[in-house]
Each structure stands twice: as structure tokens, then as C-alpha cells.
Amino acid sequence: MTKNENMVEDLEQFIAPPPTENLNLEARNLDFYYGTHQTLFNVSLPVERNKITALIGPSGCGKSTLLRILNRIYALYPQQYAVGRVLLDGKDILTDHNTLSRLKDRGDQVELDPLDCDISQIRARIGMVFQKPTPFPMSIYDNVAYGVRLHFNKSRQEIDGIVERALHRAALWDEVKDKLKDSGLSLSGGQQQRLCVARGLAVEPEVLLLDEPASALDPVSTARLEETLMELKKDLSIVIVTHNLQQAARISDYTGFMYLGNMIEFCSTDRLFARPKTRRARDYLTGRFG
């Protein structure tokens, strides 16, 4: 491999993944490129079922990029591409006929015939919540019903029920039940973010990806969101990118520490925060850099 400015010298890693049979989603040996610029290097991320997996690391380390590969949202931008595997319940959702040749170029042994999987279905199964709340310019009800109408052919009454349930699960129902027809934009920032969670939940995803969901929220709203996530993990698996170390320690079961596009350390949250194995993780957690 040619020398790259982002290459970490003396790469010291420690990876202690959960047992393979419990994995809901798994990224394997991912490289990622913005044009010719490589930003992820052979990154793997196991996501255990019904657990919260947190990604931490200094700005620009590739946490968000990794998250954006998992539901292939990066593919909206033609100059960006990922090489590697993302397995949802064991089935590769990243490799299609375009990326297959890149895998082979890299020298990977490709054992299965990749399918061109339906990206719309993938995104319904892997929901995403962004850093800034992104309510659609329509009513609260229509925001939550948007994905349902897209993927399922449901009657009006059924959609009513799904919307109510999703809002309950996102802990927003009591605040909005009397104004479902109001614009989603009329809610406060914290409520908007929980609306986005509800919108994602309405299509019953297996995995929920959150990209710094609390960074624009005040502490009270953040606490509500965290409670919501703790409740939600009973039904689905969660991956959360956060800059807030306390948040990762509070809510996550596993934590991955990334640095300059590499996964440096991945293990259970208790272990990472109590006894980090690698020097870089130790330095980051004690505030010596980052």
C-alpha cells in the first residue's frame, strides 16, 4: 500500500467483538474513499443484537463515515465509495455488481455471488437519525407516516395505530397527541429529534443508526433521548456516534474507539472505559488528546 497521510504508524489495535452468532449487523474490512482520498482503513464493526454500540473518537476519525456506510447513505454522492462487506443478518448489503470488481481488485476472496439488493428495503430495515433534527415540512402525523406509506400498503386506521405506537416508543406521544396535524417544524429541537426517531421507528427497522443525535440538544432533552434509546434496545440494535464520552459510558454496551480512519479499540464499554488496552484509547479517554 502506498503511504498515505492518514496511515497510522505502529498501528496498535485491540478488538474484542461479541460472539458472532449474536450479530445483527456487521461491517467487515471496510475501506472508504472520498474521490481518491482514503478515509477508512480496513475497519470492522460488529453490532450485537439488542445492544447499543457506541462509536467515539476525535473529530474526523471516520465515525460518521462508518455510520453512513452501514445504510449506504454515502451512495448519494457519486464520488464516494466503500470497499468491503456489510452484513445484515449475514447477508451482504454493500456489495453489488459495481463494488464487486473493487473487492476483487483489492484481492478479497469473494465467496458469494453478490445480489443487487433493494436499497430502499435496506434503508427501511436500517433507520438513521441525524445530528441536526430533520423534520419534513409536513404535519407531525405525516412525518411519522411517511415511511409507512412508502413501504407498506396499510389502511388509514392501521397507519393511525402505527403512528401512535411509534410516537409512544419515541416518548413523544404525550407531548404531541393533541396536535398531530401541526407542522413538525413547530416542535422544539428535542421534540423534533424524537420525532425523527419516531419516523424511523414507524417502519419497524432492525437497526437504528444515530449520528450525534444529542449534540444540538439541551441536557434535559438529551436525558429524554437517552432514556428512549435504553427502552428501544429491547426491540432493536442501536449504533450511536457520539462526542460525549459520558454518554457513551452511560448508555452503550459496546464501544469502538476510532482514530484517523482506523478502528483502534473495540470491546465492551465497561472494559474500554475501565481498562483501555491501547495507548491511543487511553490517551483519548484521559483527555490527553482529541
Binding site: 445504510n71 447513505i73 448519494l76 436499497i119 430502499s120 428495503q121 435496506i122 434503508r123 427501511a124 433507520g127 438513521m128 441525524f130 445530528q131 441536526k132 430533520t134 419534513f136 415540512p137 409536513m138 411517511y146 415511511g147 412508502l150 413501504h151 417544524l185 425523527c196 419516523r199 424511523g200 417502519v203
Partner: protein, 278 residues
């Protein structure tokens, strides 16, 4: 101390110049509106809307011109809004950073500042001469060609203002790009798109030159757009140059009507965009 004095003096001069320029611009506008009202308001009777263009010395109104203007502007706006919004959407959503996108964007900017008389001549060549006749349709097309670049440009700008995260959120739920644009991005940009339409309308409502080559003008009332059609600007052009006092008075009334229509539309546009911001 000395430099402080100098700085304050320069500041005073600059503020004075800015104020003066603003007053000058507003003063001009006030003069124009003032003379329109003084000369036009007196002739503003109901008959202006109920009677057609008179012969010199007879009583009459502007009904045929008003109807012609409304018909041609409406048809022009339908064409301009449909094509302009689609073109602006293509520029903003489908061809960002592409070679063709940049070329079309540039050409649209050129079209934005093409003299209207050239548009009139162009439509004369492609619609009037081949069909051997002036028509309201030709007039509408020439007006549409003037409004379309404005709608296109405004649409492109307004869609680009929408954050990428909104598009990602829509597609993150599994919607296709086209559906996200139609059901989310257009909705979010709706006040801006409306402003584009209103700006285009304000631009064409007073255009005279292209209509002289295409719709020609018609002193009789017609709803048939395949015939020559009257319009307020062409009638003003004809009447204002005439030797008859009653014609010139009607020209003032027509000018006042156009100015009022444009003013109303601009104010409406402002109110609507403000309503959408929130």
C-alpha cells in the same frame, strides 16, 4: 486623536452618501408613482373595465387590453412555471457539479438578461411568420421565454438552500430521489418557488416590445388566443403616442393599473415568503 477625527469624518461622509443615494432612489419611485396616480386615478372609472378600446373622441375603456394581458400572462406563467421549476430542479438536484449542469446554468443566466425585443423577434420568426399571423399564443410564448429563466434561477437557488440532511433523511427512509424531491424538497422550498413565480410575473406584466412583434394588439375584445390580442402595454404604447387627449388619459390609467398589479404581486410575494420562514 487626529486620526480619530479623520475616521469619524470619513464615516459621516460615507453615511451621508448612502442616505442620499437611498433618498434619490426612493424619490424617483415616489415621483413615478405620484405622477401615475395624479394622471391616472382621475380616469379610473368602472367603464375602464366594462368597455373596450374607443375610437378617438368616443368614450371607452381598456377591457379588451386587460383581458388580453391577463390571458397572455396567465398562459405565459403556466409555461414558465412548469418548465422553470423542472429545469431549476434538474440544475439543483440532478446535475450538481456536472459539466452540462454548469453550462446550462450559465446559459440560463445569459437568457436572464437577453433584451426582450430579441425574444420578440425570435418568437416572430418561429411562430408568427410560419403561421402567417400574429396571435395571443405567440405573445404568451414570448412572455414565457422572459419569465422562465427567472423561475429557473430562483428554483435552483431555493432548492440549493435546502440542507442535504433533509435529502438524506428522506432517502434514509428508503424513498427514491425523485420522491424525496417531490414530496419533501419542493414542499420545504415552496415559499421560495412561489417568489420565483411572482418575480417572473412582475417582469413580464409590463413587457411591450415582445408583444408588438407577436400578439400585435387588437382594438376589439377577443378570448381567442390564436388571433391578434390586445394588451395593456401595447395599448399604452399606442395611446400615449397619440394626439388625442382621451387616448392619452386612458394610457395613464393603463399604466397605473400595471403599476398597481406589480406592486400588489410584490407585496404578496413578500408576505408569503415571510409566512414560510418561521
Amino acid at each position: 486623536m487626529n486620526s480619530n477625527l479623520k475616521r469619524r469624518l470619513i464615516n459621516k461622509i460615507f453615511v451621508a452618501l448612502c442616505t442620499l443615494s437611498t433618498l434619490l432612489a426612493i424619490g424617483m419611485l415616489a415621483l413615478i408613482l405620484g405622477s401615475l396616480i395624479i394622471n391616472g386615478a382621475g380616469g379610473l372609472h368602472l367603464s375602464v373595465f366594462t368597455q373596450d378600446q374607443p375610437s378617438p373622441g368616443m368614450s371607452g375603456g381598456l377591457r379588451n387590453s386587460i383581458i388580453g394581458s391577463i390571458a397572455m400572462c396567465l398562459a405565459a406563467m403556466i409555461i414558465a412555471v412548469v418548465l422553470g421549476i423542472l429545469a431549476g430542479t434538474w440544475l439543483s438536484e440532478y446535475s450538481r457539479n456536472s459539466k452540462y449542469g454548469r453550462a446550462i446554468h450559465f446559459l440560463n443566466d445569459v437568457l436572464l438578461s437577453v433584451p426582450s425585443i430579441l425574444v420578440g423577434l425570435f418568437v416572430y420568426e418561429i411562430m408568427v411568420r410560419p403561421f402567417h399571423g400574429f396571435s395571443g399564443f405567440a405573445g404568451a410564448v414570448s412572455l414565457a421565454l422572459l419569465a422562465m429563466p427567472i423561475v429557473t434561477r430562483t428554483t435552483e437557488d431555493m432548492l440549493q438552500l435546502q440542507p442535504d440532511t433533509l435529502r438524506e433523511a428522506g432517502m434514509g427512509l428508503g424513498a427514491s430521489q425523485g420522491l424525496v424531491i417531490r414530496s419533501i424538497i419542493w414542499k420545504a422550498a415552496a415559499p421560495g418557488l412561489l417568489t420565483g413565480g411572482l418575480l417572473g410575473f412582475a417582469r413580464i406584466s409590463g413587457e411591450t416590445a415582445p408583444l408588438l412583434f407577436t400578439a400585435l394588439g387588437n382594438q376589439f375584445l377577443t378570448f381567442n388566443m390564436s388571433e391578434p390580442m390586445g394588451s395593456l402595454p401595447t395599448t399604452i404604447f399606442q395611446f400615449a403616442m397619440s394626439a388625442y387627449d382621451d387616448w392619452r388619459n386612458l394610457a395613464w390609467v393603463g399604466a397605473l393599473l400595471i403599476a398597481m398589479a406589480v406592486l400588489t404581486i410584490n407585496i404578496l410575494g413578500r408576505v408569503m415568503t415571510r409566512g414560510g420562514k418561521r
